[in-house]
Amino acid sequence: MLEYILAKYNFWIYVVLMMIGLYAMMGKRNLVKKLIGMNIFQTSIILFFVSTGVKKGGATVPILMGHGHGHGQHLIQVADYLNPLPHVLMLTAIVVSIATTGVALATLILIYKRYHTLEEDEIMAIRKDPSAYKTLG
């Protein structure tokens, strides 16, 4: 059982991180904590992707293989090199996640300007009864 878990530890790490992120997004009342949860969630997926590119046992970068042999083309076996594509994809995904975080932070500024708080239940109270605003803010 333990070996089974250890053999695929990268999956377990990503699942645990993802659950932490989901919990923070759903369970926390503070909007910034929700946003941090969202970041953890996205990062877990990025880690998952990056870990899929790993190969053990002397795999190298594809460009290095053809070098130094001198005599024409020789076929590079897939097993011999690390696949760079997941990492490249994740560069794009990181950019997307940064953009999302930026937009979310800008929205939080808007929310704070309007309600002077970032606690979800207080905002709900103010929206239900605008007079609560004065006592809080």
């Binding site: 989901l22 997004m25 909007l31 929700k34 946003l35 969202m38 969630f41 996205q42 997926i45 998952f48 992707f49 899929t52 696949n83 594509l85 997941p86 994809l89 794009t92 995904a93 997307v96 953009a99 999302t100 937009v103 979310a104 800008a106 929205t107 939080l108 808007l110 929310i111 309007r114 905002i123 929206r127």
Partner: protein, 500 residues
């Protein structure tokens, strides 16, 4: 030049999004003409692409000259050609319509608005045109991010609704990305056509099953399928009216397009029937979506919120058409994507015009509106008839095919739900029409003891830039109905997989 048209569809609005803020920095009133001029290009190019598909069949465009499994391919087939024309046309009309609304709700933010609008349309067009799974994710996020930015400018609850939308939308996109990851691990390819040939040997691999589950869940969140719809009513109701006019008809339909792509192009149709019971699950979710959407819509008095709940029911229609897994059902689903985009667009245009004139969105505000805004209300009546499914308008035809699909599949509960939902729509819309056209002119004076003054109602129609799109869409809704046979014969029947 003509060979590069598919690339222009994406490049033109993307460059436009760069140009607009630069121009708007100095000359704010030039933003709108600039955006309009740029949006004509994708419309022209998509019409050209669709015509070429109809003439010579689906074709691909290799970006940068790299062949498909390695490079990124833009793939235009019957379904994506149709969606491209739909998105480009609605985008152009929405930008044309936006002028008075932006002046009222987003004064001084014209460059921001038109930039985000162009980015949004870039994203939507990109999702449809690309033949690469990861590209779909990137374009999905481009359109979602610009959508968040646009919605946040709205009325009181908008920032909070936007934040919820960001959180839930990101979960949806991340699930989609995870699905891409699992498929990539199993196959080593991201190209949809390439994957479609590799996947059938791997259908019973756990990795593929998990990937498929993540795909459908992620797309269902973006689409607002019933239990995952919670972000939708608040986000679309609180958004400024030119924004909801643009986003509401397109975003959910494009997500439905991704679902069709995944279930019928990426995977064989048998996969969602026999390997995983996805079709059955989606079908019953659609039933619940239609019922709950209808009931919730009945409970609303704010018409914008009511339309949002109707949209949740309409998403249910499309998913139901997909889930019955036969030719009439899928034909109905694709036709309903087109029809429903037109109908919802027209409804939001009407709501935008009404709230621009300062009439409020509660149902009782509609009193005497037929006298004040006769053309707008006439368009509203046409949409209402179409929504209820009355023959000359387009809503009837897609519903006909959907019901045919459920009957062929012998899913009687589905048929009854569809029929019942039409009745609910009739109740929803006729209570507004009754308020507008049949309310007594003296404003209920005889119940009190006022002297019976005639209420003088002045005609106060929306400005031309709002009225023209409304009338065009109302005309299109009527024309699409009789034309639907031709559209099916020319385009949609080829988009349905041949196995059916």
């Amino acid at each position: 030049m003509i060979d590069q048209l598919p690339a222009l569809i994406i490049v033109a609005p993307l460059l436009g999004a760069l140009l607009t803020p630069i121009i708007g920095w100095r000359y704010r009133q030039l933003c709108r003409p600039c955006a309009l001029m740029i949006l004509v290009i994708p419309l022209y190019a998509s019409c050209g692409a669709l015509l070429q598909v109809v003439r010579t069949g689906p074709f691909g465009y290799n970006l940068g000259g790299w062949a498909p499994p390695w490079g990124i391919e833009y793939r235009i087939d019957y379904l994506s050609g149709l969606m491209l024309v739909l998105i480009a046309a609605i985008g152009l009309l929405a930008a044309f319509n936006a002028k008075p609304g932006v002046k009222m709700d987003l004064r001084g933010k014209e460059p921001h608005f038109y930039t985000l609008l162009l980015l949004q349309i870039t994203g939507l067009l990109g999702i449809v045109i690309t033949g690469d799974l990861f590209n779909i994710f990137v374009f999905l996020e481009i359109s979602s991010l610009s959508g968040y930015g646009l919605i946040a400018h709205g009325e009181d609850g908008a920032p909070m609704a936007t934040f919820n939308y960001i959180i839930i939308g990101t979960i949806g996109a991340s699930f989609y990305l995870l699905g891409v990851g699992y498929l990539y691990m199993a196959t080593g390819s991201l190209n949809i056509a390439d994957l479609a040939t590799i996947l059938p040997n791997l259908y019973h691999s756990k990795m593929i099953l998990v990937g498929f589950a993540f795909f459908t869940t992620g797309v269902a969140i973006k689409m607002g399928l019933f239990p995952l719809h919670v972000w939708m009513p608040d986000a679309y109701t609180t958004a400024p009216s030119p924004v909801s006019t643009l986003i509401a008809p397109l975003m959910t339909k494009v997500a439905a397009y991704i679902l069709i792509r995944i279930m019928f192009t990426l995977f064989q149709p048998e996969f969602s029937i026999s390997v995983v019971p996805a079709a059955t699950i989606l079908g019953w979710m659609a039933v619940v979506a239609i019922i709950v959407g209808g009931i919730k819509a009945l409970a609303q008095t704010d018409i914008k919120r009511m339309v949002t709940y109707i949209m949740i029911a309409e998403v249910g229609y499309i998913v139901m058409g997909i889930s019955v897994m036969n030719r009439p059902g899928l034909t109905g689903a694709i036709l309903h994507i087109v029809n429903d985009a037109c109908m919802v667009f027209c409804l939001f245009l009407v709501i935008g015009a009404i709230s621009y004139k300062g009439h409020g969105r509660e149902i009782y505000h509609f009193q005497h509106l037929n006298k004040k805004m006769p053309f707008t209300m006439a368009a509203f009546v046409i949409v209402a008839l179409s929504m209820c499914g009355i023959p000359p308008a387009c809503g009837f035809f897609s519903k006909w095919y959907l019901i045919m699909g459920t009957i062929v599949a012998k899913q009687w509960v589905f048929s009854i739900t569809l029929l019942g939902s039409s009745l609910v729509n009739a109740v929803l819309f006729f209570r507004i029409i009754e308020k507008a056209y049949l309310a007594p002119l003296d404003g209920g004076a005889h119940s009190h003891d006022h002297d019976r003054e005639e209420v003088v109602v002045v005609r106060d129609e929306a400005p031309a830039s709002m009225l023209i799109p409304i009338l065009i869409m109302a005309a299109i809704i009527i024309i699409l109905g009789p034309l639907s046979g031709k559209i099916i014969a020319a385009v949609i029947q080829h988009a349905v997989p041949a196995a059916f």
